[in-house]
């Protein structure tokens, strides 16, 4: 049978960001897939040698808008480790609050996009309507909806007063009820299951061997989440990774759905443990040496390698984002799929291309 090469992307209705896949198909079956990047490469790592280490916070926040807070958290933790300082307890708990709010709105955004990818428009709109409540919390507590810019070296720059804490808790009650009302639709609806169950299966062994990260890894049955490293305030919170075993699009979707509810629980736990205290410690000296630091972003494990030389400029900032890790597994599971399933499977990794290319 003759083979045909079909271009998928960089502009495609299901892709929020540009990535190109050259799909080789025989009839309706994909037999090869070659990803091409480069549409949003900005060279942000290189800016580390041109900007001082404090300015780099604003730069790493712009690696990715949707998980900007967690990028700066990872970076600040790395610099703090290098300089031998630790953020105060209140700051570490506040970091948990905002990072879990980021995970929550990222997962709601993705769940909506995923519903849209198989034509479930009303579910998409419902999920994004719920997400707006979280964006309101971000805006009210930090001044910004997306790039909240709360992290500084040594702590955070924003605080929550009692009235704000009560309002966040009240909002989360409503958000949780709204999310739970969609649970049976997201997990059991016949339309959803038909387009997601048994599609794009990544086995547990393959996920591990291919270096998958985040819900892509946990949806295949590997219980690994960087929050188990107990960074920020996670050492004081009850946390277990959410795991599904089917390894298909449904499993990845279900992991994100359950993690949304888990994030609400973690925000509540962190708010309950907030005690009066400083927001930041004073920073003295310049970063020197090298560290590796890891955090869990909505899309999975994010690794920063930082190298300082005792000056204002770092010698190297290396960022490995989760989508970068999930592209090889994606390229591995596409062959064998029906062409019509490709958009759903591509979206199931929650691709963040601005993160990937930096």
């Amino acid at each position: 049978m003759a083979r045909t090469v079909i271009p998928f992307g960089p502009q495609h209705p299901v892709l929020p960001e540009p990535i190109h896949l050259s799909l080789v198909v025989e009839d309706e079956k994909v037999v090869e897939a070659l990803p091409t990047l480069g549409y949003v490469h900005r060279g942000l790592e290189m800016l580390a040698v041109k900007r001082d280490y404090n300015q780099m916070i604003q730069i790493v926040e712009r690696v990715c808008g949707i998980c900007s807070m967690i990028h700066s958290l990872c970076y600040c933790q790395g610099i703090e480790e290098m300089m031998g300082i630790q953020a105060p307890r209140r700051a570490r708990m506040l970091r948990v609050v905002w990072s879990e709010l980021h995970r929550l709105h990222s997962h709601l955004l993705w769940l909506g996009l995923f519903a849209d990818s198989f034509g479930f428009e009303s579910l998409f709109m419902q999920l994004w309507k719920i997400r707006e409540r979280i964006m309101d919390v971000n805006e009210s507590t930090t001044g910004n909806r997306v790039i909240v810019s709360v992290n500084v070296i040594g702590g955070v720059r924003a605080d929550l007063d009692e009235a704000q804490i009560r309002w966040i808790k009240d909002t989360l009650i409503e958000v949780e009820a709204s999310i739970r009302s969609l649970q049976s639709t997201i997990m059991n609806d016949a339309t959803v299951c038909k387009r997601t169950r048994g599609i794009g299966v990544l086995t547990q062994q393959a996920a591990y061997d291919l270096g998958a990260a985040g819900p892509m890894l946990r949806g295949s049955g590997v219980a690994q989440d960087m929050r188990q490293l107990k960074y920020a305030g996670f050492d004081e919170l009850n946390f277990e990774p959410v795991v599904e075993t089917a390894g298909d699009c449904w499993a990845r979707s279900t992991v994100r759905f359950r993690e949304s509810l888990q994030s609400i629980d973690l925000v509540r736990q962190a708010l309950d443990k907030l005690e009066p205290g400083d927001l930041a410690v004073k920073v003295k000296g310049k970063p020197e040496g090298e560290v590796i630091t890891r955090v869990e972003q909505p899309r999975g494990e994010c690794l920063y390698y930082l190298k300082g030389n005792g000056t204002n400029n770092l010698e190297r900032v290396r960022i490995r984002t989760p989508t970068f890790a999930n592209i090889p597994p994606l390229a591995a599971i596409l062959p064998g799929l029906d062409f019509a399933d490709v958009p759903v499977v591509v979206l199931s990794i929650d691709p963040c291309i601005s993160c990937t290319e930096r």
């Binding site: 070659l34 490469h41 061997d209 270096g211 040496g289 590796i292 490995r320 592209i327 597994p329 290319e357």
Partner: protein
């Protein structure tokens, strides 16, 4: 402060990566680090049970290393990126973008903002060859 990393020679890399894979380590990524005008090192990061094990492999700029992509398919993307940005080539790369992972020709790459490209374009008969020998930095 320094990270815990074992320094090995390039010739030992494949054997060491095979050993780590067989012992249940997951390949995380690689980091390229410039040391001076002529020397670099590549850090290979592996994880098992949330603990990182790192290999440090020294290499000259423009040098060559064995590719891990045949053993660990997930390495192909980062190896192509390192080739794009630091001109290190990898022997046995299973998906080789020939230095164009980010879709740029050497000519346009040389003028990209903020990119640390060290690849000099091949002499070209094209009319814009005057700009093709710029070294982007």
């Amino acid at each position: 402060m320094t990270i815990n990393a074992t320094t090995i020679a390039p010739a030992q890399l494949l054997a060491e990566a095979t050993r780590l894979k067989n012992e249940g380590f997951r390949f995380v990524t690689m980091s390229s680090v410039e040391l001076d005008q002529t020397n670099m090192e590549i850090l290979y990061h592996f994880d098992r049970d949330l603990v990182l094990t790192n290999l440090r492999v020294p290499v000259e700029k423009g040098g060559k290393l064995p590719s891990l992509s045949g053993l660990l398919f997930g390495a192909f993307l980062v190896e192509n990126e390192i080739r794009d940005q630091f001109a290190i080539t990898f022997d046995g790369l299973v998906l080789d973008y020939q230095g164009k992972l980010y879709s740029e020709t050497a000519q346009t790459a040389a003028s990209s903002p903020f990119c640390k490209y060290h690849v000099k374009a091949e002499p070209s008969p094209a009319p814009d060859s005057q700009t093709s020998n710029q070294e982007g930095k």
